[in-house]
Symmetry: C2
Subunit: 345 residues, 2 copies
DNA sequence: CTGAAAGCGCTTACAG
DNA sequence: CTGAAAGCGCTTACAG
């Protein structure tokens, strides 16, 4: 009934008491710690009566095994680390979801780290990650410093690189050629009659690779070099609007634009509408990522689709194989992409 | 020069060799393990010559401290766990970014887990998390089962609940009243002359609280009960388009809609345009989240803004305080929100 | 099937 | 300032 009553009227987190240990469970159940350990991790190797006593003690005491101790002794952390440029924007979220599910079903936990599109924190972050001794690391389109690379190589941790291409993978590789994507999008626009191409690109390595392929293919078609506008990654809807204005100023006859993200592409659609430019009649627009909204914006957005769920599933299998001492079926796998044609071009 | 040469032409991850240990560094530097430990964590407590020998040995051997062993012995994991409904959709991404930065500057690592809008994995996931003995847990708008709650309470781990309201917090609380948000949005629409309100809601607990406030306020204004359309969370652009169709069928005179997400709200804007309904003249639209694109879509979107960066910063400070044995300045803090008025209503 | 001993790689707590 | 001993909470490897 004091003023402070509401602050203590419910059960608060108890900071004083240390966590329950295996030893305490064993004492309560009247068995050895080994029997408790077995009852938890390999119940079939313990007789039913003992197992029941252990289960009861675990329940009563609210025992949660300490995974740091487990990991230290068994040299298996049951932890997998995924590093992505950013968790915003959902380009990688399908892969993360799929990784999470596939790994959980095999008793691993996924830890997601974002490294940003800059590279400053790379080495620092990597040291913190390797220090946790994960059973695997998934690198989503991260280009790394020589130091980072050698840390990874000498760590002995299975590494899956993906969302990118390299001639010298650290370990395993789910290869995606952004240069090829740039080329295919250029072909797609060319095939629909566009002859004055442009590009709204991001300032990250993969966007630059798409740019390279796009420009190379345009050159092979004998087209004028596409005008390029580069925006800071992760790219936004607003950058799409600004970008279209810029491109039209630089090259008023532009009739086909490849955008480095769907968000940017919808910005182009918005600005085209504001300026009264008919899409797709006067202007073809292609996005990247095929996010959920690409099919429901008006006009619906043609976009490059990448099967993130498949990438996540494969990466999980590769890492689980390594952790179990099996060699993965293949060390290098090519990831397919497709251009989903819709109304915008 | 064999067919397999390309598979081994670069330095591969070395799975055979176990990781370098503190002991090996000590031997190489000709000091005790304690001196190495001090040289790394408290360099000023070691004389310069020894420190140099240690640093060199660390560098040469590529030593990365094992944080599982560190955490086990010191009872500090330097790990903080954040649980969000979903990392897709970027409603929580500003908070995650801010948490990450604030924690890193204090020597912690953030681990992000997504629990989904359903509740099935809740207990399982929580056990895996508590097993890692994080130094703190941030719960973003997760309503938990009694079992989950008691696991958290008895774990003794500092917990910050946020993005939600409760009368019985587990530990610390950054309180946000979604019911209040619902009321304020209703007032906002009412103040701009809307009298036939509707709601596009999600099927998660916080969306339901906003619904409750919105309906209660509408009743207090003496308005007809708003029509409600509930979509599966996380809500999408397409659901916004479908939702507007549904609402207009159910109540053709609708002139104001509150949407549970900005993505859904832009879907409403799209569909209104397709149907030739003038926004804001005939229809006012308010979103939730104030995501980046809210200010650049056309018409620009009025939306509820929540300062995720502030939430992340406060949560980080509270947890760091607890971990250092200080009582946090306040156990319960109210989080402010605002309605950012733009062209859509 | 069950358990006693040893040790994973660190840091704590103490002594010199 | 430096180091030898002990122990964090588990599992491995072995014996009965």
């Amino acid at each position: 009934m004091t003023d402070e009553a509401p602050e203590t009227a419910w059960p608060l987190a108890d900071r004083s008491r240390p966590a329950v240990t295996l030893r305490e469970v064993a004492q309560r159940a009247g068995v050895s710690t080994m029997t408790v350990s077995r009852a938890i991790h390999a119940p079939h190797r313990v007789t039913a009566p003992l197992r029941q006593r252990v289960d009861e003690a675990v329940r009563v005491l609210g025992y949660v095994p300490n995974l740091m101790a487990n990991g230290l002794r068994s040299a298996r952390s049951h932890l997998v680390m995924a590093l992505v440029p950013t968790i915003t924007g959902s380009l990688f979220s399908e892969m993360v979801r799929s990784l999470t599910e596939a790994l959980e079903s095999q008793g691993y936990q996924l830890m997601v780290g974002q490294i940003g599109y800059g590279r400053s924190r790379e080495d620092e972050l990597l040291k913190a990650i390797i220090g946790r001794r994960p059973d695997g690391i998934v690198l989503a389109g991260i280009l790394h410093s020589p130091e980072a690379r050698s840390m990874l190589v000498s760590s002995g941790i299975p590494v899956v690189e993906t969302w990118d291409t390299t001639d010298t993978p650290i370990d395993m590789l789910l290869r995606l050629s952004h240069e090829q994507i740039g080329r295919e999008v250029c072909r797609h626009l060319h095939a629909s009659g566009r002859r004055h191409l442009a590009l709204l690109s991001g300032r990250d390595e993969r966007a630059e690779l798409r740019e390279r392929g796009y420009l190379a293919q345009a050159a092979e078609f004998g087209l004028q070099p596409p005008v390029v506008y580069r925006a800071v990654s992760p790219t936004t809807h607003g950058q799409g609007r600004d970008g279209l204005d810029y491109l039209l100023r630089a090259a008023p006859q532009v009739d086909g634009i490849f955008c480095s993200s769907d968000l940017m592409a919808t910005g182009v659609l918005t600005q085209a509408r504001v300026r009264g430019i008919a899409v797709p009649e006067k202007l073809g627009v292609v996005g990247f990522g095929d996010l959920d909204f690409a099919s429901t914006v008006v006009p619906s957005l043609t976009s490059v689709h990448i099967d993130g769920a498949a990438i996540g599933g494969m990466a999980a299998r590769m890492i689980a194989d390594c952790a179990d001492g099996r060699a993965p079926a293949r060390r290098i796998v090519d990831i397919q992409f497709s251009i989903v044609g819709r109304d915008s071009g």
